[in-house]
Symmetry: C2
DNA sequence: TCCGAAGTAGACAGACCGGTCTACATTAAA
DNA sequence: TTTAATGTAGACCGGTCTGTCTACTTCGGA
């Protein structure tokens, strides 16, 4: 438990550290830099010049790979989805891969210094009305989250309905942690999960 | 049930409609316009010039009332808090003022064409790292939400803990509705509430 | 070696951004 | 009537934003 899976999977490697070895292709560098900055500081707050400077590319290279900023935003969400779901699944396995594993996984995530809530919920709030694709990507991300949760549940229950409710409890906990109450978020999440288990025990 | 309380309380009156009667003071017009635009389109996406034009004031007047855009953002959140909590309480009373009243109230909110999720969660995701006051305002708003929920609960339970979990279920439902699944959000919310009631029945 | 893909440096454009300022007009209260 | 508060019209500022473009270099595969 000393070495968090989170750090291995989701931290974007510092570009300067990697440059001492094999430099990743420009597109990868842009994407990683955008991920770091968009998640940390917001999407519109981050200008393309900043990404370009920190990724160490030029404008022509940037626009060759991403014809517009909106393209980059969607690529950022896709990239985020991949690394987050992958991390989430690995972390769940570490804690037993059942419903009760979720709380410690969330706890680990909230404890990470880079934690700033759910990138999809954040993007939705910021860009949801000007880019409908963001809502669509969010819906897909959350659908896959529910599938992962589904896989934690035993066969003898309404897995689909339960997974939906659990996913909502996760989101409630994530936003609560994001505004500054991570411990309360975990506590409330555990209560909601106990409630679900209670309900399941009745059926 | 034909005339939703929501429309009376939370829709910002169109400025042009009000102008045929008594024109509200400049500050009020600015605040209402900012509320409409920030909530609908995002905070950074909305420039002060747009607010100024739609509020029908000049720059000097704008900056006299709000010395910076950040001041306006915080005023927007305070205004939102007041009208939302007020609306929420009125709507709960309409449906019986108990735990089961929450679902129809949320349903009504989600059905509103102006619905775009929770303004605080949206602002947090967008501005949370550059303006710590936003996180603070969110925390306060959510604390008062929990107090309202607390008041719906019977005396014979862990009201504080339960209110916290219910508030989190609300947030989970709100973000789900915001990405485009309002019916599923209500369904999941009801499940979470049933789980809480089940848990309470055991203690 | 040649060629195309990919990359570099850096300048440019128009629009938008938040904020400052002058000069003048209106309104309400003393 | 006078004065202060409040409001108007509009110009201006420096900076940032997204995107376009020229000229040149590097790299890898045929």
């Amino acid at each position: 438990m000393e070495r968090s899976v989170y750090h291995v999977m989701m931290d974007t490697p510092s570009n300067s550290a990697v440059m001492d070895q094999t430099k990743p292709p420009a597109r990868e560098r842009i994407l990683r830099t955008a991920h770091t900055l968009f998640y940390r500081e917001g999407i519109r707050s981050t200008g393309v010049d900043r990404i370009i400077a920190e990724a160490g590319v030029t404008k022509v290279t940037f626009y060759r790979h991403f014809p517009s900023k909106n393209d980059l935003i969607l690529a950022f969400l896709d990239y985020r989805h991949r690394i987050w779901i992958s991390w989430f699944q690995d972390a769940l396995r570490k804690y037993g891969n059942n419903l009760l594993a979720i709380a410690p996984v969330l706890q680990e995530w909230f404890a990470n210094s880079a934690f700033r809530g759910c990138a999809f919920i954040n993007a939705l709030g910021e860009m949801g009305s000007s880019m409908p694709e963001v809502a669509q990507r969010t819906m897909q991300h959350k659908a896959e989250l529910r599938e992962v949760i589904d896989g934690l549940l035993p066969e003898n229950c309404d897995r689909e309905g339960l997974a939906g409710a659990v996913a909502m409890a996760i989101d409630g906990a994530v936003v609560r942690a994001a505004w500054g109450e991570p411990a309360e978020a975990i506590h409330g999440f555990k209560q909601l999960i106990e409630g679900m288990r209670c309900l399941k025990a009745q059926t």
